[in-house]
Symmetry: C2
Subunit: 259 residues, 2 copies
Amino acid sequence: MKPAGLVSLVGAGPGHPDYLTQKAVRRLREADLVLHDALVDPGVLAIAERAEWVDVGKRAGRPQISQEAIQRLLIDAGSKGRRVVRLKGGDPFVFGRGGEEALALRQAGIPFEIVPGVSSAIAAPALAGIPLTHRGVASAFVVVTTADKAVSTALIEALPPGLVTIVALMSFGNRAALATQLLDRGWPAQTPAALLLGAATPRQWTWRGALNALAACEPPAESADAPGTIVVGAVASLDLSLVHGELPPIALASSVARE
Amino acid sequence: MKPAGLVSLVGAGPGHPDYLTQKAVRRLREADLVLHDALVDPGVLAIAERAEWVDVGKRAGRPQISQEAIQRLLIDAGSKGRRVVRLKGGDPFVFGRGGEEALALRQAGIPFEIVPGVSSAIAAPALAGIPLTHRGVASAFVVVTTADKAVSTALIEALPPGLVTIVALMSFGNRAALATQLLDRGWPAQTPAALLLGAATPRQWTWRGALNALAACEPPAESADAPGTIVVGAVASLDLSLVHGELPPIALASSVARE
């Protein structure tokens, strides 16, 4: 009988290897197989050099791999005794479908674990100098995606304008609709907003402006399909950016996906 | 003239060194001085062995160090060319007052940087097998603290019961009031809830139950002042706990604070 494998659902953080946790690094070093979604930084690839890397990302212009197929790959590899890392941008339990994968693994009796990561919901604004909470400015935030239109619409309807910071993930393509909903709900046109694409990657692009200008902001083509975070609320006017020039990481080669 | 120092506002994650980022580890290794809040894991202490450690935590039974005094310490050390780590539980920009410290440092012209960390708001539930979002169950969450009573009350009033997952930080002492507010607002008595104390530390203690039992849950004395995360919503009934037995970390000695 083969020894049991281990499937680790690992949060990779926003992109640069600096924001991998020590546990994520250990799991990558030990991995036989890494299933990843997005473009992966060469520094992250280098950590799991001996592993087989499989891109299961769902991106425009690629044949879609279904969630069920990903789960079958995880179960299959785990049942063969392999050390598997399922590498997810940010944190595996924040819009990462990590819960579904964990359930499937548990039902199949495959040993697995969750390795929390640095969520882009928090890190992307932080790296742009925007704190989601700030004394006297905001003491709560919501994390939402316009990909679930029913919930995001109901949430925007319910929230009094300006009460909390709004963080919208996977909502770049819906930024016009999001801005319109907020404006219709009574958020002032001049409410500070920010759009953060590709935080902690070479495709990093940051836009700041008023809520009523969010719809029209246009990133350069190379950043337009990078993971994006939208922040709306008074904190988005803060720019606690770095006096020290080290961040964002500047020594990076461009990201590559090993296909 | 002395060389400029660098003050790094570093998120330590939930407690165990496994959840430090690579950048946090690097900054701890380089540090001359570490200002920390909470009890620090011996594994974290060991990384910054050569540094001076100063506990500036505001905890029951200790003389209070004001936020202004902490900021003066940071500015003073930075202006003397020291490498300083301001170590904060979770992420420095989520209820960490990191924004205030960043502002003070910028105003003083001291080089600084933000090193995002794994927020307990996400990691504490994840380590207990609770995903904050889960397809078909929850697709948004709010992070709030009852320490700001006006905002948390307004938020609970505004949110339709069950629409999003509620994550309350620094709210353990107010759990009875929080539960009452939610029940009064119409959240069903049987809404799943969880209380996660000291996640990823030896004081870890987890309670799960119905919302109407949250007020009465009583942790053991050694966990009662550990950092706590309350989760309310359908996801709290999920238990995607680990088949593999490695987590929570079991090889830890008890936490110590170097005074």
